[in-house]
């Protein structure tokens, strides 16, 4: 019997090695697997590279506390600066945290490509800008493109709405965001799910992420994300 459910966050986080690249879902707080990030702090892996859209805000949320442990070497994201991203700002300025800034669509496609077995691709985004400097470029049908490489993770941390024992997933509204692509692009995909449902309950046409991408599922019924912050991207 296939059963990817595990009983605790500690069990879900077992085996994450130092030096890992960790993909995480979420767009701000919505769909962000904050309990698994907390679990990563507890688990203790260090020299990490994190890949996600944002770098957290305030001082108490798990992503920010993970940065503050000093166990993150580098973050790859599109929007590290948000209202109250104080810990990221301080550590980046002090040279304790490397940043690779990537346009949001290029970030998403680099992750999608990794999950789809595509090692690199050409995109028009950022050609001729500071973020394209030093990158290989090529003219195709009269337009200039940059070569961008796939980002593969050792671990993906995902937040889902529903999960079954096969790891089939659904996501709630804009909680979907980066989660489905993160799930496809890592060796070890760990899911925190609000609801664990019986196999078959989700239904074949309603499944957003088939369980083939998922390794571990842990039940975290934490409820709703905090009402959104105002006016950051």
């Amino acid at each position: 019997m296939i059963d990817k459910r595990v009983k605790s966050i500690a069990e879900a986080m077992q085996g994450i090695k130092d030096g890992s690249t960790v993909l995480f879902g979420g767009f701000g707080a919505v769909g962000h697997p904050s309990h698994l990030i907390d679990g990563l702090i507890e688990q203790g892996a260090k020299d990490l590279t994190l890949v996600g859209n944002n770098a957290g805000s305030g001082r108490v949320e798990p992503l920010v506390r993970l940065l503050a442990t000093g166990r993150v070497r580098k973050i790859i994201c599109s929007f590290p600066r948000s209202s109250g991203s104080v810990v990221f700002d301080e550590m980046h300025k002090a040279g304790k945290l490397e940043l690779e800034l990537v346009p949001q669509g290029t970030l998403a496609e680099r992750i999608r490509a990794a999950g789809a077995g595509i090692p690199a691709f050409y995109t028009p985004t950022a050609y001729g800008t500071a973020l394209g400097e030093g990158k290989e470029s090529r003219e195709i049908n009269g337009r200039m493109y940059l070569l961008e490489y796939a980002i593969r993770g050792d671990v993906a941390l995902v937040e889902a709405w529903q999960a079954d024992r096969w790891g089939n997933l659904t996501f709630k509204l804009s909680g979907r965001n980066f989660n489905p692509i993160m799930a496809t692009a890592a060796e070890l995909t760990i899911v925190q799910a609000q609801h664990i449902v019986e196999l078959g309950e989700i239904g074949p046409e309603a499944t957003h992420t088939p369980g083939v991408y998922v390794n571990r599922v842990v039940h975290v019924p934490y409820g709703d994300p905090a009402p959104a912050l105002v006016a950051t991207a």
Binding site: F27, D89, A130
Partner: protein, 228 residues
């Protein structure tokens, strides 16, 4: 060409600059029914208030196709946010996709129009809107570069001059670019301008404003748009 223009207060010169809602309404007039439109954060979002009576589909790059207005307190649905992370509603017929599909839709040319703010727009359509410095502070880019190259057309909505009175319509941008030759039209508090093959072409001006006064606020050569 001067790069510093006198501040456009309007009162002394005998013209009336458009307000932000008027700028948004002026832009919205040019959006036909049926377009799929992505609105940037800030003034661009105001445009959605002025398309009533037409079915225009608003896309938000975090994966919403068919975004409605901001939520009222009694409607709170914390699982729905727009690209600015504000809680929003969906309209009937809306759909949701993941980030890679959302940006595939954007780069693939399926968005009819993107409206963004900007610090500077050059007469060849280059523009700068993502950072004022590559060395001070923490840069952030979000989806602006993808939207700028991917949407079928990019219109900028912004004040004609900066807060300290400097021209924002220029021969060449000085700030780090968001995209090259991307902007096709600019809506400011003073004028509507097309980016034509020979530079800025004035389509419309705020009431009472003269071409000379507009030129004085602009650091690139203006010409009137030939009647269609």
């Amino acid at each position: 060409m001067t790069t510093t223009a006198a501040r456009a207060t309007g009162a002394a010169e005998g013209f009336k600059p458009w307000t932000r809602p008027e700028m948004a309404a002026r832009l919205a007039r040019d959006i036909p029914e049926g377009w799929c439109v992505n609105l940037g954060i800030g003034i661009p979002l105001l445009v959605s208030n002025f398309v009533k009576g037409r079915e225009v589909i608003f896309q938000s790059e975090n994966g919403i196709i068919g975004m409605g207005g901001l939520q009222k307190p009694e409607e709170l649905e914390p699982w729905l946010v727009n690209a600015g992370k504000q809680n929003v509603n969906l309209v009937t017929g809306a759909s949701i996709v993941h980030h890679a599909d959302s940006f595939a839709m954007i780069r693939g040319g399926h968005i009819d129009l993107c409206v963004l703010g900007a610090f500077e727009v050059a007469e060849n359509g280059d523009f700068a809107n993502w950072t004022t410095s590559l060395t001070d502070g923490v840069p952030a880019v979000g989806g602006a570069m993808d939207l700028a190259v991917g949407a079928k057309r990019l219109w900028v909505i912004m004040d004609h001059t900066s807060k300290d009175g400097r021209a924002k319509l220029l021969e060449h941008c000085a700030l780090p670019l968001t995209a090259l030759k991307a902007v096709s039209r600019v809506y400011t508090n003073l004028a509507v301008l097309d980016v034509g093959p020979q530079g800025f072409e004035v389509v419309d001006m705020a009431p009472g404003l003269s071409m000379e006064a507009l030129q004085a606020q602009t650091a690139a050569k203006l010409k009137r748009k030939a009647a269609a």
